[in-house]
Symmetry: C2
């Protein structure tokens, strides 16, 4: 999606927000209209000292920022097994994931992770510490996973999940994991468990 600039330097398409067709969840289309008044926006560097092109409303002058989104989830553990969910929705329908989803307004990262674990797996947990923070900067996301202790091995998957199941380390369907952040988090989890000490893992996913 090339950015097009007219003689004033205004761009009709944003250079910072490219589609990522492999993964529908991560796609964000450019802002076309002002959220305040509905006028078509133009992309330009605002006059307030900013250095990046933004969607600016030529009518009411609102500047529309686009910022990364947080995805929050858990590594839910039952004895020596980890809970994975098989996705009932795109992207990566049919693939396995740790329970996770977009953080909402009015919740903390841990509350969001607990909510997603309930929504996707119907799993009751006791939340543990933050375990991984993974930057997926090419799609404008930060993924955060918390360790969690399952309070039961009964699950009630929601509409986003085909199946919720416990896996030992040697049972993990590594080739069927939905997202690289989940695969990395699982790898670090089993490595830390082997080492007998759980740390915080900050990882950049290219």
């Amino acid at each position: 999606m090339p950015a097009m600039a007219d003689a004033t330097g205004m761009q009709t398409l944003p250079p910072l927000c490219a589609p990522f067709p492999e993964n529908r969840m991560t796609f964000r289309s450019p802002i076309k209209h002002c959220r305040e008044c509905g006028t078509a926006v133009v992309y330009r560097i605002p006059d307030d000292g900013d250095t990046k092109p933004r969607a600016v409303c030529p009518a009411c002058h609102t500047i529309h920022y686009e910022n990364p989104l947080n995805v929050v989830g858990t590594v839910p553990v039952w004895r020596d097994k980890v809970l994975l969910c098989r996705r009932a929705i795109e992207p990566r329908l049919g693939k396995w994931t740790l329970p996770a989803g977009f953080m909402e307004l009015n919740e903390t990262t841990a509350q969001g992770a607990e909510r997603e674990t309930d929504e996707e797996a119907g799993a009751q947990i006791q939340m543990g510490p933050l375990f991984s923070l993974l930057n997926v900067s090419h799609v404008g996301q930060v993924h955060l996973f918390y360790l969690a202790k399952l309070l039961s091995d009964e699950f009630h998957p929601g509409y986003e999940t085909l199946e919720a199941r416990l896996f030992g380390e040697d049972e993990i369907p590594w080739d069927e994991i939905a997202f690289r952040t989940v695969k990395t988090t699982l790898e670090r989890f089993f490595a830390d468990r082997k080492a007998g000490q759980f740390g915080l893992h900050c990882v950049d996913i290219d």
Copy 2:
């Protein structure tokens, strides 16, 4: 700002996004128009299994989500002193802060923290580990601060900063700190330094 619902359950104002007048930075006005086609949106629970009211376009059916924003920054250290910046902009003009700002698309949390340190203080740093993650859920923000080592004690503040200065622990202007996340991070920093070990601090700010 009360939410108003008509007989169809559609809400004309969102219940999840209240203004927070004490702090202009944190205010996000409700979405009024569709970013795709400019039509006035309605607030209702989408038909896709969602459970929360969203701004939905009655013309092109786009659902507009609003999610928390990340603020990223550093605790820049020079010998036994910490760098603070006096704010040249609202909110909290004239108050002192650690260098920090909104994370942008196409950068990692650490890259954003380093960029903000350069933009606000003109400070050159060597980035250290993540030190604090603070949820400010009532304004839909997550603040992340990294430890950083200053490579020089010369600063070149940007337009958002009146003054950048090094402070020893007994010189910190505690009553003039701009944000509670900054105050908490500084308190934890000095406590950890006294204890001789720096950890990760996850804190919820009410």
